[in-house]
């Protein structure tokens, strides 16, 4: 079970409280986690990555285990603590004013 923590705007959009839990068969990577997330919550398609190219939106970041994974290739396996549910994957809106 993979734990994903979404930013407030996306939690409201997906109508979830707290963390999202996902079951993923096979390789656990950003790509497979986002596939599962968007499958479970179709409204999130396009809000984190481009609907067609899969490119991460410029103001979205991926953190886990105190590391910034934003620029890792999307198919890179996620840290083991994320794979086993010990640590959440954080999807974060970049800090900015306004």
């Amino acid at each position: 079970m993979i734990r994903v923590k979404l930013p407030t705007h996306l939690r409201r959009l997906a109508r979830v409280d707290g963390e999202v839990e996902l079951d993923i068969d096979g390789e656990v990577s950003m790509s497979s986690v986002l596939d599962a997330l968007e499958s479970q919550y179709p409204v999130l398609r396009g809000t984190i990555r481009d609907q067609h190219t899969g490119e991460r939106r410029a103001f979205v970041r991926y953190f886990a285990c105190e590391r910034d994974l934003s620029r890792e290739p999307p198919d890179t396996p996620l840290p083991k603590q994320v794979m086993v549910g010990e640590e959440p994957l954080l999807i974060v809106g970049a800090m900015a004013g306004g």
Binding site: P7, T8, H9, L10, L13, V43, G46, T47, I48, Q51, H52, R57, A58, F59, V60, G93, A94
Partner: protein, 371 residues
């Protein structure tokens, strides 16, 4: 008694303001989509409880929301605005070539007759349409395929298609405007388009009366006289009597002819409203006095409307999509400001009062007249 519903888009959400025909006491609901920019909210003329809203942020992109109960509840619908074919390039501010890229939906224009059909004007400038209530959107690619497309440049707010006018009876005719390309018209349902900018003159482009390149801020039309169009250009207030084929200036005695919105009285097609703004570098009213100007003569002669509007220390702006009229017997006029006020006049502009005074910066105002 009939009433009105005012749909307000702001930098931090949407608000729905409702009142009876007296337009004195108001109910305010919102923010809907709090924290998101809502460029536009529009209702279907065919089914007034069907609303559409454009919701976006730079962080998480674009959503379209739909309500079937007059804004009480909303459901997200389709948000895929993919250009048809190879999108090609347009010009950046410095004239260099940049690829066409979707950024946001500026304006939603529901069909006059079908609640499931809506036109959407987007940035980078393109015209899309849904015929299934917003689930899917298809481009009308003939507009960008107009031969001038690669020469279009953005205005300061982006290369945005912000105005969509439907002919009241001829469904094949649409008139649109793009900052800073100009105005365009189709007479065959969007298959082909012609630039309709003859008579416009603009500083800031090499050829002041070029076919395209004009920063048109807004166009308004009265449905009883569809060939008469009124335009607030970056500078200059303009009029056409032949559906945009030719334009002439009607700025007349305005204190400044820079501004953004323009609107026409619901029952008097020669009564026109503008909000003069000092200049393109000073986006606030002259002398710190917020004045709507009304022409009763279709232009050239203008009178300031000040009763109830702040006449000192006022430095807000009124954006292009932030003025509208209702169709009650005594026409109501509404506008929103970048300072978060929404003003209403229940008597065609003679007197004004704020409906709300402390919203986020207002991007758009639409009005529905309810049975």
């Amino acid at each position: 008694m009939s009433g009105v519903r005012v749909l307000v888009g702001t930098r931090k959400g949407a608000f729905v303001l409702t009142s009876d025909g007296k337009r004195k006491d108001w109910d305010v609901s919102g923010p809907h989509f709090g924290g998101w920019e809502v460029y536009h909210v529009a209702g279907s003329p065919a089914e007034p409880d069907r609303l559409y809203a454009s919701q976006s942020t730079a962080w998480f992109g674009q959503l379209i929301q739909r309500s079937d109960d007059g804004g009480k509840t909303w459901e997200p619908v389709g948000k895929d605005f993919t250009y048809e074919g190879d999108a090609g390039t347009h010009q950046y501010y410095d004239g260099s070539e940049v690829p066409w890229k979707f950024t946001r939906v500026w304006h939603l224009e529901p069909s006059l007759t079908d609640p499931d059909t809506v036109y959407a004007g987007i940035e980078d400038a393109g015209l899309f349409r849904t015929v299934d209530g917003g689930q899917t959107w298809q481009e009308l690619p003939g507009l960008r395929a107009h031969g001038s497309g690669p020469q279009w440049q953005p205005g300061a707010g982006g290369l945005c298609l912000h105005t969509i006018i439907q002919h009241p009876t001829n469904t094949d005719r649409l008139t649109i405007a793009i900052s800073a390309a100009g105005a365009f018209r189709t007479d065959d349902g969007g298959r082909t388009w012609q630039a309709i900018n003859r008579g416009l003159k603009s500083d800031g482009i090499p050829d002041q009366d070029a076919e395209v390149g004009h920063c048109v801020h807004r166009i308004a039309m009265h449905p009883s006289r569809p060939d008469v169009l009124f335009m607030q250009k970056h500078w200059d207030v303009m009029r056409s009597d032949d559906a945009g084929d030719n334009w002439y200036e009607i700025s007349g005695d305005l204190p400044t002819d820079f501004g953004f919105p323009i609107a026409v009285h619901a029952h008097e097609p020669d009564i026109v409203y503008v909000v003069p703004i000092t200049s393109d570098s000073l986006h606030y009213p002259p002398e710190g006095r917020l004045r709507v100007y009304r022409s009763r003569t279709g232009g050239n002669e203008w009178e300031p409307l000040t009763n109830g509007l702040p006449q000192r220390d006022c430095y807000v702006n009124v954006l292009r999509d932030a003025m509208a009229v209702d169709t009650l017997d005594e026409c109501g006029v509404y506008f929103g400001t970048t300072g978060g006020q929404v003003y209403a006049s229940p008597d065609a502009g003679d007197t004004w009062a704020p409906i709300v005074s402390n919203l986020p910066s207002v991007l758009s105002v639409e009005v529905q007249t309810l049975p």
